[in-house]
């Protein structure tokens, strides 16, 4: 089985390097094809591994080679394929494969076609390293690797100029890329600290060693480690307050958004919490904090999605919101539910994004849903895909989202955290509303795009076919909940609803469903017949607050970026050049000007020289006389 591990892991790398070979040549379709094939290979290998793990119930643990060894630290390139990682691997490779194929069509006209595949495959490789690694350092490799790939891919259209935030909140792809990278770095520092804490207290970074040592550690240390690691997770999964980068990351090509900023990378944080569940199990206060933050973000993001006009940003907010759900589950101890939602979400969210990509492709990169409408005629399949995905997202049975999200909400109820439950339920309603607001505004109603002279057309056939696995999975994934449950709890702690909850399960489901359906209906009422703008509403404070993302980006710009730049300039111009350097030069000049002054004693006049001798003699005599008197 080891060779499948390596195939699964390295096929994307090979794909990336292969594409990189043609990175600077003009578009070559076969690059995309081969990359997709390699990704498919990786998916197959992952599937085989999944089957193997499912059958045997055991894990495959390989150590490729030693990486860093210094002092007592020993970090290998070790990979573990167990229930959790194999789930992730399968999801990642599946979505990746679809996205690769999709990209062949989507990036059709882009002159950096080959480069795109190189980056995309590199991302998959990093993600695989992230999920497969058997130690924290290896996780960190993947963690940073996906960060860089995300940077590359967000900034893929680097040649676009910077514009003002009013025109485009993300300013430019390169700006958004940098923002994403830097914000993630902030979180990575937390993660590093967490790693250090674990190393100095357990002497290793291997998951098994670390987790085995946890019972022997003091609570304070565990608390610190849990917090630090979670800070890392917050960055990657864009949790408040580090969330701003995710919406800006929509500057990247849409397949990228689908793969990285919806299905895989952003879930790494959740993955980390799930992976480190032994740690979080013993730190309930941290877990509770995670759950609360997750719930908050779920609501917070959903609220921003309500009013947004940007097709991709709406989906991005929804991703944020769903990540919140996952954290809520993980924080409440329902790790397997979190993982399940992660997987299900990956499918329907990727589908949603790819659908959005189709729309963009058709609309010549127009993203404002207020300028769309009535696309269902020309883009039937896309409408279906996006509808299905939105239904799944809204949690309408029997689609995947219903099962997973409902389980999370149930968990919140089960844990007795009623406030969380209420918020999550409300959020579910909001989710349904904004999803369908978007769908209706895009596909229903009058054809507003005509005013802009756009002639939309459906995506290539093969692309639509490639998307179908996701659509199918979005529909049916929910039915595998039970299987998944038995499979995953071999590794993860089991989480069952209590009797009490079982009692109310139908009621709870109904409430959630009611909210979801209510959201959809509301959306239909408001936007089903076309765009009716409500000036009063749009000018209200809340609307503006939401539209401006609670003014958080502006806050960051005004109170962090600008002061940072200002202080930096001040430090350079005032401190470094004025104070420090001037002091140094001043000391040198002191001697130089001292020389200029003292050379004046050298008048050239013999008389003054003789004077100096006389003075010298006198001073010496005087001091001699004084010192004899004193001494």
């Amino acid at each position: 089985m080891e060779k499948f591990v390596y195939i699964a892991l390295f096929a994307p790398l090979v794909s990336s390097l292969f594409a990189a070979l043609f990175g600077m040549s003009p578009r070559k379709t076969f690059v995309g094809v081969i990359a997709s094939l390699l990704l498919a290979t990786s998916f197959l290998a992952s599937a085989i591994l999944a089957a193997f793990v499912y059958q045997t119930g055991g894990a495959i643990h390989v150590t490729m080679m030693e990486w860093i060894g210094a002092g007592d630290l020993m970090i290998p390139f070790g990979f573990i394929v167990d229930q959790v990682s194999v789930t992730m691997m399968t999801v990642v490779t599946l979505v990746s494969t679809v996205v690769h194929i999709y990209s062949i069509g989507y990036m059709d006209h882009d002159k950096s076609f080959n480069r795109f595949f190189s980056y995309l495959s590199a991302f998959v490789f990093s993600m695989m390293v992230l999920v497969m690694s058997d130690n924290f350092a290896g996780l960190f490799i993947g963690w940073e690797g996906v960060g860089v790939c995300s940077w590359l891919l967000i900034g893929f259209w680097y040649h676009k100029p910077d514009v003002s935030p009013e025109e485009n909140p993300s300013i430019s792809p390169s700006w958004a890329a940098n923002e994403a990278f830097i914000v993630n770095r902030i979180a990575d520092l937390g993660m590093l600290i967490g790693i250090f804490i674990l190393y100095w207290n357990t002497g290793s970074l291997q998951y098994d060693v670390v987790f085995a040592a946890i019972p022997h550690l003091s609570h304070g240390i565990l608390f610190a480690a849990a917090i630090a690691l979670f800070i890392g997770a917050m960055g990657k999964s864009a949790q408040f307050p580090l969330h701003t980068w995710l919406t800006d990351a929509m500057e990247g090509p849409t397949p990228v958004s689908a793969l990285i900023h919806a299905a895989t990378m952003v879930t790494a944080g959740v993955f980390l919490v799930i992976r480190a569940n032994p740690l979080y199990m013993v730190t309930p206060e941290v877990s509770y904090f995670i759950a609360s933050l997750g719930t908050f973000v779920a609501f917070f993001a959903a609220s921003m999605a309500l009013v947004n006009r940007d097709l991709k940003r709406i989906i991005a907010f929804s991703t944020l919101s769903q990540l919140g759900y996952m954290f809520a589950a993980a924080g409440l101890g329902a790790y397997w539910i979190a993982l399940f939602h992660l997987a299900a979400h990956a499918f329907f969210k990727a589908l949603l994004f790819l659908g959005a990509g189709n729309v963009m492709h058709a609309m010549h990169d127009e993203l404002d849903i207020f300028k769309m409408g009535g696309l269902k005629k020309s883009m039937k399949w896309t409408y279906i895909y996006m509808g299905v995905a939105s239904l799944a997202l809204a949690g309408i049975p029997p689609l995947a989202g219903f099962f997973s999200k409902d389980a999370i909400i149930e968990t919140a109820f089960n844990e007795g955290t009623l406030i969380l439950w209420i918020i999550l339920v409300v959020t579910a309603g909001m989710t349904a509303f904004y999803s369908f607001r978007q769908v209706f505004l895009t596909f229903e109603g009058d054809e507003r795009y005509k005013a802009f002279g756009i002639h939309p057309h459906e995506m290539y056939k093969f692309v639509l076919i490639a998307m179908s696995p996701l659509a199918i999975l979005a529909v049916i994934a929910g039915f595998f909940q039970g299987t998944f449950h038995t499979f995953i709890i071999e590794l993860l702690p089991n989480y069952e609803m209590s009797e009490h909850t079982h009692h109310y399960v139908l009621l709870l489901g109904a409430i959630v469903l009611a909210f979801a359906v209510g959201g959809i209906v509301l959306a239909w009422v408001m936007y089903g017949k076309g765009l009716k703008r409500n000036e009063k509403l749009e000018n209200s404070f809340v609307y503006k607050l939401l539209k401006n993302q609670y003014y958080i980006p502006q806050f960051y710009a005004e109170f962090i970026s600008k002061p940072y730049a200002m202080i930096s300039t001040m430090m350079w111009k005032s401190v470094d050049m004025k104070i420090i350097d001037t002091t140094v030069d001043g000391i040198a000049n002191l001697f130089y000007s001292g020389g200029d002054k003292t050379r004046k004693m050298q008048t050239g006049n013999l008389s003054s020289y003789l004077n100096w001798m006389g003075i010298g003699l006198f001073v010496l005599l005087f001091i001699a006389a004084i010192s004899t008197v004193i001494g």
Partner: protein, 508 residues
């Protein structure tokens, strides 16, 4: 070949002397050939180096002035070995990539002399010989900066020379005092470092001596607030000068800490951990912020060097094998990465004769290869895993965590603000639309430049993925060093702080 170190040291010097005879047009090829041979010799040294032996190898000892205890005493251990190899490598690559045409012969001769001094510093085991090469290295550098530099070159070169010279004279007094102490205890005059190691000094003496050495090393590193010569030197120096300066010359300071300060004054070193950590952290954050404010590409990298050197110093004073090995590895990686970055800036400077970022923008579309290599080096510079930059930085921060968590968090901000200035540099220069007409016709990297940069890229990735061949001998020597320090330390605080790794404990 037991005297390979002497060969390594004097081969370039002799070649430089003979270089006066070589015709101007052939000078570059001559220089490259000599540097290649030197690199091969260095690699041979590495091959014949016994990684299992933590002590000094290839030792050569010839008494020069026995009455005054000065010996020609060379040796190499895991700590110095790779810096020597790197010095040889960077000299060669720098020469290959060099675009200077003016007075090329003088440049080649200076470079070869410089190579001698650089290698000499790292293999010297006699304080006076060390000092000799240390000072001598200033001279060719002075010439390189002053003769081929920018408009302020004379100011910059003199500032560089005088600043370093002043610091090292204080260090010289420290050395003399050390020799005096050795003499008054043993009755023998000796300047050999290994003899000095045996000397257990009272803590009060250690502190003063530590400070004397510190001044010399700190200016060379350069540590805040003694760093202001560096931006000038880099800003004005020609590409090759910056490459060598950043890659090798700065490492002399940090190497000095490891070679002198730690083993000679273990108690003082432990007492000084906190002050030095504070300076280092200020240095890391402050200069990184200053780097962000720069308008000149080269200055960004110059200030980033200072910031990275702060990390190196921090690691040195972590007092555990992880930190010190990491800091030595970081010396190597910083040498390679910053060297490469300076070369890259040189590439664009050769084409456009400006380094101002505002002049650029959108370079990625006209110079894709250049952008790729720059990007790789940038990522190595910000410490991306699987590049050479990560290993050292990770180990240093990991090691220093043992000393102070707050300190580590503050120092760790370097990974954030490092990313900020590097990415903003990259964005300003490479991303965005191609607005400046002058940039439209820029040529991508040519063969010469690729030849000098691609090996560096290869090393960046090779040592990022598989650092063991380098890290293991370093670690071996560092562990021995720490064990030695722990045994020598007198104060309980020092004994406690100095972490002897478990393998060494078991060996005991």
């Amino acid at each position: 070949m037991d005297n390979i170190l002497s060969v390594l040291v004097f081969f370039p010097a002799i070649a430089a002397l003979l270089g006066f005879v070589v015709d101007k047009k052939s000078a570059r090829v001559y220089g490259i050939s000599v540097a290649s041979v030197e690199l091969l010799l260095a690699l041979w040294l590495w091959m014949s180096f016994d990684s299992g032996n933590a002590g000094m190898q290839f030792v050569e000892l010839v008494p020069l002035v026995p009455d005054f205890g000065i010996n020609y005493y060379l040796g190499v251990d895991g700590i110095s070995l790779f810096i020597v190899v790197m010095a040889a490598l960077m000299t060669l690559l720098g020469m290959i990539g060099m675009s200077i045409e003016k007075d090329i012969k003088n440049m080649i001769i200076s470079l070869l002399f410089l190579e001698m001094t650089m290698i000499g510093v790292f293999v010297a085991l006699d304080a006076i010989v060390f000092y000799l090469f240390w000072e001598l290295s200033l001279v060719p550098m002075l010439y390189i900066i002053g003769a081929w530099g920018g408009p302020l070159r004379v100011y910059a070169s003199i500032k560089f020379f005088l600043y370093t010279f002043t610091g090292s004279l204080i260090m010289l007094v420290g050395m003399l005092f050390m020799a005096y102490l050795y003499h008054s205890i043993s009755g023998i005059w000796s300047f050999s470092i290994t003899d000095w190691y045996a000397l257990v000094l009272p803590v009060s003496y250690q502190i003063w001596l530590f400070l004397a050495f510190f001044v010399g090393f700190a200016i060379k590193v350069p540590m805040f607030p003694f760093h202001t010569w560096l931006p000038y030197a880099h800003g004005q120096a020609p590409t090759i000068g910056s490459v060598i300066l950043a890659a090798v010359l700065l490492k002399m300071g940090t190497y000095g800490f490891v070679r002198f300060s730690l083993p000679l004054f273990p108690d003082a070193s432990v007492m000084m951990i906190m002050p030095i950590a504070v300076i280092s952290i200020i240095m890391i954050i402050y200069t990184a912020m200053v780097a962000y404010a720069q308008e000149d590409m080269k200055q960004v990298i110059a200030y980033s060097s200072v910031s990275h050197m702060g990390v190196i110093v921090l690691g040195t004073f972590a007092m555990n094998a992880e930190g010190i090995s990491g800091s030595i590895f970081l010396m190597l990686s910083h040498g390679i990465v910053s060297g490469a970055l300076f070369m890259l800036v040189g590439v664009i400077y050769d084409r456009r004769h400006t380094k101002l970022m505002s002049e650029f923008g959108g370079l990625a579309s006209v110079m894709p290869k250049y952008a790729v290599i720059f990007g790789i080096m940038l990522m190595a510079s910000v410490g991306l895993p699987l590049t050479i930059g990560f290993v050292g930085e990770f180990l240093v921060l990991l090691g220093f965590y043992k000393v102070s968590m707050i300190g580590t968090i503050l120092a760790g901000t370097s990974i954030i603000i490092g990313a900020i200035y590097m990415l903003s540099l990259y964005k300003k220069s490479f991303f965005g639309p191609l607005t400046n007409k002058a940039n439209e016709k820029l040529l991508d990297l040519n063969g010469k430049e690729l030849m000098s940069l691609v090996p560096l890229v290869a090393i960046v990735i090779w040592l990022g993925v598989y650092p063991k061949p380098v890290l293991a001998p370093i670690d071996n020597s560092v562990k021995a060093l720490l064990t030695f320090m722990e045994e020598k330390a007198q104060t309980p605080e020092a004994k406690e702080r100095i972490v002897v790794s478990t393998t060494m404990k078991e060996a005991r």
